[in-house]
Structures are given as structure tokens and as C-alpha cells.
């Protein structure tokens, strides 16, 4: 019996912790819910952890690093452990790459289970090629959060100005 802490990323951005028991039952340790079993809906995406169910087509990627684009625009990097026909994926050593302008940051996340419906694209990363264009620079988590906030504030302000100017009927 192996207990592993995994993090299930849900569309609503609430992060759960799950503990696999007997390799098949999962109990959430969640900040706002009592521990409970994983529903069969999620169970399907977890059961593909068994190596024999890897689809042949993707098995050659299972070694290298991959990039997963999610529907909300987030970019996750990590090692693909498992994958199925719904594009449910398990990422090991996952990190989120936040890009703001020319700044970027990789925020470590750990083991991630991604439900297929949120996946846009799974790309193999070329080990020889440079990850990002050379003019981009890596910054700390705090700095990227600040940059993110500045960008969000700027777009909010733009929206506000646009709203105030609506009476002009610019279209």
C-alpha cells in the first residue's frame, strides 16, 4: 500500500489533495471538505496510472518533458507519466510557466492530474532547442506575481476608461 499525495487541479481553481489507498481508492484531503472518496468520474483519469494502459502512440513521449496548454490559458510543464484517450494526463514534477511580457517564471507544483476536458494541447519539448526566445528573462515568483497584477490592473483600467467613454458611441 503506497500513499502518495497528489494534487488535483479543478476547473474552478480549487486545489485538492488526494491520497491513493490500495492503489485504487482516493480520499481527498481538502481544506474545505471532509475527506471523501474520489468519484468514478475522476477515478477514470487516475486508473490510467497503470503502465499497461498507456496508449502506444504516446509512449515514446513518456520520458521527455512536455508542455500542456489548458483551456484557461495556463501552461504546465512536466514529465508525462500517463495519458489516455480523453487526454486526461498525469504530470510528474509539474510547474506552471507564467509569462508576462518578456518576463517568465516557473512555479513548481508537484504531481498533477489534469482532467482531459481542460486540455487544449500537449506538446513535446525539444531538449536541444532553447525553451524560450533569448530576450526573455527569468524572474522570481514574487516578481512575476507583481507583473501579473500590474498587467491585470492595466487591462482593468482600459476596460474602465472604455466603459466611461461608451456614451461617445465610438463604434
Amino acid at each position: 500500500m503506497m500513499k502518495v499525495l497528489v494534487r488535483v487541479d479543478l476547473p474552478r481553481r480549487s486545489d485538492f489533495h488526494a491520497v491513493p489507498i490500495h492503489g485504487s481508492l482516493f480520499v481527498y484531503e481538502c481544506p474545505f471538505l471532509p475527506p471523501y472518496r474520489l468519484s468514478s468520474l475522476f477515478f477514470r483519469s487516475i486508473s490510467v496510472l497503470k503502465p499497461e494502459s498507456f496508449p502506444e502512440a504516446t509512449s515514446h513521449v513518456l520520458e521527455g518533458k512536455i508542455l500542456v496548454l489548458l483551456r484557461d490559458g495556463r501552461k504546465l510543464l512536466g514529465t508525462l507519466c500517463s495519458f489516455d484517450q480523453f487526454a486526461n494526463a498525469v504530470l510528474e514534477g509539474a510547474c506552471e510557466r507564467v509569462i508576462v511580457g518578456d518576463l517568465y517564471c516557473d512555479i513548481p507544483l508537484g504531481l498533477y492530474v489534469i482532467r482531459g476536458e481542460n486540455v487544449v494541447l500537449i506538446g513535446e519539448l525539444d531538449a536541444e532547442k532553447e525553451d524560450l526566445p533569448p530576450h526573455m528573462s527569468r524572474v522570481s515568483v514574487a516578481e512575476i506575481r507583481k507583473a501579473q497584477k500590474a498587467e491585470r490592473d492595466a487591462s482593468d483600467l482600459k476596460g474602465l476608461i472604455r466603459k466611461r467613454m461608451e456614451f461617445l458611441d465610438m463604434d
Partner: protein
Amino acid sequence: MLFFSYFKEIVGREVVVELKNDLAIRGTLRSVDQYLNIKLENTRVVDQDKYPHMLSVRNCFIRGSVVRYVQLPPDGVDVELLHDATRREARGG
């Protein structure tokens, strides 16, 4: 099933896949499955500057449900054949 068969026929050709998030990717069609999930080889993002994180992605899997358009090679469509096949399908044969 018809379009699945069709896409299977153009495996190996170059296509441009436009996604619902406005990302457009050019690449060689490597494989396709029943959900019209697509695997592309030698991919290049059409608007490279806007998507710097895609720079080092050479092969990728695209989930069928996020595809908006697939731009086909101009000579890749046999319109007559596709017409016939769709009519046959509509008749239920």
C-alpha cells in the same frame, strides 16, 4: 466517421490547425483518432511572437474538442468523392 476516414487519408500532408483559443499551428499531420484528436509533427506556430512558449514544441497532440478549423492542402480534397460519401451517409447506407 466520414471525416475520420477523410483525415486518415491526408495523414502525412501539411495542414494548419486553428484552435478555439485563436492559436494556429502549421504542421504535418501524423495521426488522427475517432474524436478527431490530432497529432502534428514539425509544428510551427503561425504567430510565433505572440506565443513564445510554443517555440520549442516540435511535435504535439491537439484535443479534438478545441479545434475550430483545419486548413487542408488545396489538392487534398476530392470534392466529388466527399459529395458522394456524404450523400450515401445521409441516406443511411
